[in-house]
Structure formats: structure tokens, C-alpha cells
Amino acid sequence: MIQFEKVNKRYENGHDALLNINFELQAGELTFLTGHSGAGKSTLLKLIMMIERPSSGRVLLGQKDVSKISRAAIPYFRRRIGMVFQNHQLLFDRSVYDNVALPLIISGYRPREAGRRVRAALDKLGLLDKETLNPIVLSGGEQQRVGIARAVVNKPSILIADEPTGNLDPELSAEIMDLFDQFSQVGVTVLIATHDVSLIERYDHRVITLQGGQLIEDGYRNQEGPL
């Protein structure tokens, strides 16, 4: 679903953010992306989101080389990717419902169909009774869940989460991880960027570790044998 082939990313200031990155994520796979800050996690996510383009090598989404996607076509590809942001990135000038409905409005859904999907997403995240509230009155955990609802409302085939459990207590983190698990079980490719080691240790998922722009680990930590 997501494939990196000899990907290098050098920024205009000469900084090499990624060096020769190779990996492939299958559909329905849940993977952690980890590494210290500055290791290249954000750059890697930006390449998947088509915010940045690789300096060399290929990034494939589905079977499509993102370098070959025109600027005008990028929005339509992004609609297949759900993104959960570190700082939620909710809009405080509208209700929870309208925040979650935004991707559907952008995709041109009919209001009734959009409403059905928004409520399904809110229901799944236990936010149905909060739909008319402004997200500013919600707790951090609830805001994060609104962000997840918005990311999945469009039924994306790829779900990217950037530090989704950043400011949450372990109990809430576990809840959110369960949700991601459920999505991966229905075939969504889930990539979770985090530096929360304890979170990674608690689950038995594939881990990709970056250090100084290089991929230094790709495998399952809790299993015996070779990586």
C-alpha cells in the first residue's frame, strides 16, 4: 500500500532528512514509526502526504508513484489518506459535527449521506453526544478522538497518525490504539509515528526506526529471532 524505494530527501538548505529509505507496508498492516526528534519521522510522513517530494527514489501509494501525481491531482489522492495530527488540528469556529464532516464536504457528499457517515464515525469513537459542542470545550482525549473521527470518516485506505497519544494518559492511549487496531483489521494500512517507547513495547506490531535520516530497524520487537 505504501512503498519507499531508495528514497532520499535533501532540503534546500542542504540538510539530508532521509537517506536511502526502503520499506513496504501492506494493506491492513499496523506499523509504528519511531525515532528521536529530527530523525526524519516528520519528513517521511510529509512524503506520504505529498507535502514534500523525494529528492530521489520513489514513494508509491497504492501502485502510484507520487512524483508523477500532478499538483492539481494531489487533493484527490489525499482524500484516500486519513491523517491524525499531533496537536489535533481541530477548527474551533465550528461544532464537532462540522469538524468531522469537513473531509466529506470537500469530497462533495450529499448532506444526508455525509450526516450518516459523520454519525457513524462519531458513534465509533463514542462522541455521538458531543456532536453539537464546540471542540474547545472537550478534553484532550476527546479532541484527539474527534481528530481520529475526521481522519476515518472518508473511509481512507491509509491512516497516518502523528504522535496520536502524545498528551494522553495510558488508559486513553490504549483505547486509541484499540481503535487503530480495529481499522487495520478491516484492511486500512495504519502508520503511527511516535516516540512513546512504552506504547510500542506494549503491542506486538511492526516497528520502523529512523536515526539521523536512516532506517536502522524494521521488524517485530517482541518476537524472538531475526528482525
Binding site: 492539481a72 450529499r110 472518508n154
Partner: protein, 322 residues
Amino acid sequence: MSVKQTPRGATTSTVTFKQRFNNYRDHHRAIAKDSLQRLLATPIPTLMTVLVIAISLSLPAGLYLFLKNIQSISGQWGGQAQVSLFVRPQVNSEQAQQLAKFVGERADVSHTKFISREEALAEFKAQTELGDLLAGLDENPLPAVVVVYPKNTDLAAVELLRAELAKLGAVEFAQMDAQWVQRLQAMVALGEHLVLALSLGLAFAVLLVIINTVRLSIEARRDEIVIVKLVGGTDAFVRRPFMYTGLWYGLAGCIAAFVIVEALLLWVRGPVKLLSELYASEFKLQGLGFDLFGLMLLGSVTVGLVGAHLAVGFHLRKQNNV
């Protein structure tokens, strides 16, 4: 009997063109309403921007109306344009009368009036105190005059007629008695050019005002734009609310300009009426009219949309791919 049924997919996924169009229209309606509400939520800054646009519009519109009214006055007086043919001294009175008759029969001439040398002298004496001066002279120095009243009182046509009549052998020289009108009209033509230049300059100023105003509202919604783009919003989707902002500014500015110009007209209507009565003129003050208002509306809405489009374009380019 078994009926073979074609398998049917999810019915909700089939969206007809009409539904698509309705969705799009509903979306536009919602965005238009939202943009308007955002403007009304900050009434004072919005009003100030609208007034800047209104003043920039009403200035050239007002000037244009002023010129148009002057033109209509001069047009009326141009209607009295006539050509005076001064007859050569060696032509006798009878011949001069024949000239008047001959010219009067032309297709483009309504009628002529013959003023003999004696009549001219009498008129001169009656109108001025200089009669005694003339009495001292041996003979009457004044020529006979044929006053020609043209059918077509358009100044260009009268001028053409004058030039033709000047070529007649018996005519010493031909004079059009509407030269001041001509000069006025030339000045009005110059004024029209200046109004056009002023309009273009002010349209540019309005464009800058709109770009700057929309830029500020873009800044206020910067986070929203980033999110919209990351969840797959096209540039057109990002641009749409701001296009409506530009549209509303254009519309509101034009309507405010209309009110300003009409109020100004109302204000000068009284004095103008008095003045035209004193001149026993049929003159009626011309208002903006449908044409000019339509032109203003078209111009200000266009400038509003172009300004908004440019402002969003600058922002999207600055924001790069996000």
C-alpha cells in the same frame, strides 16, 4: 418461473449529475452565506472597506455624470447652432436675397433669414451706442448677412455645412455661431478621457484594497486552510469562501456608491432646477441610469473577484504544497 435479478450495488454510491449539481449549488449557497456572515460579524472594518470601495467608485461615476449633464446642456444649445454667411460687399441686395433663397432650398437647410445691410445697420444702432460713430462714415460698412438654420443640428454636420457654404462665390466668409459649444464639447471629451484614466486608477486602488482585505481574512483562517488542504481540499475549494468575500465587497461597494451618487444628485437637484428655470431651459438633471449602474456593478464585482483570486493565489503559492 425464476426471474434472474441483476446484482445491485450500493444505491447510495450512484450519484446522478443532477444530484451532483444540486450538491454543488447547495455547497455554494452555504459558502456564500457563511462568507456574508463572517463579514457582518465584524461590521466596522467591513463598513470601512465597503466605503473605500464606494468612494473610489462614486468619484469617477459622479464626474462622469457631471460631464454627461454638461454634454446634454451643450447639446441643447448646439440645437440652436446656425451658420452666418457674410455676403461680399460687391454683391447687391437682390443677389444677396437670391443667395438666401438658393441656400434655403438645400435639403439640409431648414430655412434662412436674410438681413440686408440696412437692417444690419439699424440693428447695430439699436443694440449699441456706436450708431453715431457709424453715422460719421460715408457708407454703411456692414455686410448683408444670410443666417442659415440647418436641419441637422449635430455640430459636426453644421460644421460640414458651413465649410460647404463658405465656398460659394457670393460669400465673404461663413461662421458657425456655436464655437463655444464646440469648445465646451472638446473639453467634455477631454474630461471623458480623464474620467476613464481616473476610473482605471481607482479600480486598481480598489483591487489593492480588496487584495489586502482578503489577505487579512486569509491570515485569520490560515489554520483552516492548512487542514482543508491536508484532508484533500482543492485550491478551488480553498478559494471559494474568499471569492464570495470579494463578491460581497464588490456588491456592497457598488450599492453604497449608488447611494452616494444619488444622494449627491438629490442635493444639487434644487439649485440646478432653479438655474435652468432662470435660463428658461428644458434641462433635466440626468441620474445614474441603468446602464451606468450596470457598468459600475460589473466593474466592482469583477475587481472584487479578481482581487480575491489573486490574494488566495499569493497565499497558496507561499504555502507551497501544504
